[in-house]
Amino acid sequence: MELEVHVIHYLIVSTIMMFCGIYGFFTRKNLLALLISVELMLNAANINFSVCNRYLFPDALEGHFFSLFGIAIAAAETAVAIAIIINVYRNVKQVLTDDITDLKG
């Protein structure tokens, strides 16, 4: 039995990653865990971009570029987010979402 990797397999992986991310985003209270979940979702999207490009439009490169672009965004976003989290932590000694409500109206 020849093991062949089809587009569907990639998509399964990315979907699992996506839902793990969503699940994590909904359930976790820790800001860092949230950040990781967001990264998961972003990367799931990146995988999709690359895969679709590779299989559907082999001649084009937009998908790959877009995933590269996504990675860059993710890096920047993580940097900003971690900076915010550290600052929040400095101020309130907490990184749990339930406890950070000072800005709520």
Partner: protein
């Protein structure tokens, strides 16, 4: 006749001067301003009367009416507008004379009566205002001008009744007088509206064509107007304000509530008389029956009152009833038979104004002397106040209908007219005339004879009033003695034709006999020191006596209607409804908006996670919908 405008302008000016600058003046100056202007008005009125009645009669043998002044005051439509002007015809000239005479006398009298009172200037200002409005009322050229002045008269009466504004009774009385007459004026107003709409004019003398348009509505209009007249003239059941109005200063009662304002209703009916006769004879007879009942009712109440001004007030109501009856029993305009009542009513108006003003002014002297209105503080006053006594007696004889005093002649004409109409009315009025004689002499004996209240008189000796007060008494007494011989029928008759007053000896004889019998009865009952008969009667018929003393509970009935029904059952629930239903509904709307906001608010809890959860849920729902479609 251009100077007639001064008759209105002078009192108005004196009112303005006294109202604006009165407080800066001394009593004497302000009184003089009022009195002098009124004196001038009186002279002008007499001059007007003289010129008017000595002028040539027209070919039909009547004094033609004149309008020396008329201008448009408030336009409504091309045809309908309120004019202000002066109309001179026999009855308005007659009223000018009556009003200016009585008013002038009252002005002089008040010098003594109101001496040293606080608000003396205000008093004279209000007197001027009243005189102005009353004169304006009688010379009105159209029904709406009459209404305008009618209201002004009502207000000046309100102000004068409430002159002693620190006295709770005076406040209540003034309020009552105004509101009751206002209520009646509502009828008047609606009457005018109907009249104006269907006739397309407010004048007293619409053309034939206009009368044709009005058709069936005229009796209604006239009937409603009569309600207004009944209010001012204190016809049953709108009479309740008049006895209370006696809370005002006594000269005011003499002027307004005896001689002038209260006969405005009679004047109104007389003014509309040609229309009444031609188009609404039934309404006119209703007037007669209302007048007769009122006359009877008031006379019976007057028999038992103990406050002398109240007795006089009820006597006034009763006498106005006589005038109304006189007008009401007319069935045509021939002054010799069917229209006799018109002349008789106006004649009685004239004589009554004089002797009733005299009675009130006399009562004022008495009150001035003993400082009370109650009969039990009086008695035996003839020794102390000879002039008042004699003049009062003259007035009593006049009102009782004893010849040769003026009341006899006018009352005799009224009775004749009543007998012409129907024996029932005739005999009824004769009996009421007898009652008049009885209660007036009860009053007379109670004041001047009877048992003297020695302690009180020893403490404070009653004295005759100063000349300013006795002069008007003597003048009016003189008029009362002479007025009966005025050939009144030469001046005022139902169609303006000349009519010689002649006595109907059957009627006159009967009425004299009845009057003398009544006086004799009163003498027997009240002239002595001890009065066993009235006491016994009061005991025997205690319920009736009490009911009559309480004026047959009419005031209580009115109080019940106003206080209990209007106040408690209409106004209070309405106000409650407004605050608790309508307003609460508005509050509820505001509250429900607020509450809805409160309900939705938790959705925006600031948690990104719950937002994304909603967002994700939305995405799923949308994708499912997309799939299904």
């Amino acid at each position: 006749m251009d100077y007639t405008i001064l008759i209105l302008v002078l009192p108005m000016l004196s009112f303005l001067i006294l109202a604006l600058a009165g407080m800066k003046m001394s009593h004497r100056v302000s009184g003089l301003i009022g009195t002098l202007s009124l004196g001038a008005v009186t002279v002008l009125s007499y001059l007007t009367a003289f010129v008017y009645f000595t002028a040539e009669r027209t070919a039909e043998g009547v004094h033609s009416s004149m309008i020396p002044l008329n201008f448009e005051w408030l336009p409504f439509t091309n045809q309908l507008h309120i004019d202000m002007g002066i109309l001179l015809d026999p009855i308005s000239v007659l009223m000018l004379v009556v009003i200016s005479t009585v008013s002038f006398m009252v002005h002089i009298y008040s010098f003594g009566y109101m001496k040293g009172e606080i608000g003396f200037q205000r008093y004279y200002a209000f007197l001027s205002l009243f005189t102005f409005s009353m004169l304006g009322l009688v010379v009105a050229t159209n029904i709406f001008q009459m209404y305008v002045f009618w209201e002004l008269v009502g207000v000046s009466s309100y102000l004068l009744i409430g002159f002693y504004y620190t006295k709770p009774e005076a406040i209540a009385a003034s309020k009552k007088a105004f509101i009751v007459t206002r209520f009646a004026d509502l009828g008047f107003l609606i009457g005018i509206l109907i009249y104006g709409y269907y006739m397309k004019t407010f004048t007293f003398t619409p053309s034939e064509e206009q009368l044709m348009q009005a058709g069936m509505m005229l009796p209604w209009a006239l009937g409603l107007m009569f309600i207004g007249g009944a209010g001012k003239s204190a016809m049953f059941p709108l009479h309740i304000w008049l006895p209370d109005a006696m809370e005002g200063p006594t000269p005011v009662s003499a002027l307004i509530h005896a001689a002038t304002m209260v006969v405005a209703g009679v004047y109104l009916v007389a003014r509309m008389f040609p229309l009444f006769i031609a188009y609404a004879p039934q309404t006119l007879h209703i007037v007669a029956y209302v007048g007769m009942f009122t006359a009877f009712y008031a006379a019976s109440v007057a028999c038992v009152q103990s406050d002398i001004k109240r007795v006089l007030a009820f006597s006034t109501i009763s006498q106005i009833g006589f005038m109304m009856v006189a007008l009401g029993v007319c069935t045509g305009t021939n002054p010799h038979d069917t229209g006799l009542g018109y002349m008789a009513g106006m004649f009685h108006l004239f004589t009554h104004a004089m002797f009733k003003a005299l009675l009130f002014l006399g009562a004022g002297c008495i009150i001035h002397a003993v400082h009370s209105n109650e009969m039990n503080t009086m008695g035996g006053l003839r020794k102390y106040m000879p002039i008042t006594h004699i003049t009062f007696l003259i007035a009593c004889l006049a009102i009782a209908g004893i010849p040769p005093f003026s009341g006899f002649f006018s009352k005799d004409e009224i009775l004749t007219a009543c007998f012409n109409f129907s024996p029932f009315v005739g005999w009824g009025m004769t009996i009421i005339a007898g009652m008049t004689a009885f209660y007036m002499f009860r009053l007379y004996y109670g004041i001047f004879w009877g048992k003297e209240n020695k302690e009180l008189h020893a403490e404070h000796v009653p004295h005759e009033s100063p000349l300013t007060m006795t002069f008007p008494l003597m003048f009016l007494a003189l008029v009362t003695i002479c007025a009966g011989f005025i050939p009144f029928g030469h001046f005022v008759t139902s169609n303006g034709e000349l009519y010689d007053i002649h006595l109907n000896w059957v009627v006159a004889g009967t009425s004299i006999v009845v009057a003398i019998a009544a006086i004799a009865l009163a003498t027997w009952m009240y002239a002595r020191e001890e009065q066993p008969v009235p006491a016994m009667l009061a005991r025997r018929f205690s319920k009736l006596h009490r009911a009559a003393y309480k004026r047959f509970y009419m005031d209580e009935l009115w109080l019940f209607v106003t206080k209990k029904i209007i106040f408690r059952c209409v106004s209070a629930p309405l106000a409650w409804f407004d605050r608790h239903v309508i307003d609460q509904f508005m509050n509820f709307m505001a509250w429900s908006t607020n509450a809805a906001g409160e309900e939705v608010q938790p959705l925006q809890n600031g948690r990104i996670q719950s937002y994304t959860m909603w967002f994700f849920g939305g995405v799923i729902v949308l994708s499912i919908m997309l799939l299904l479609i």
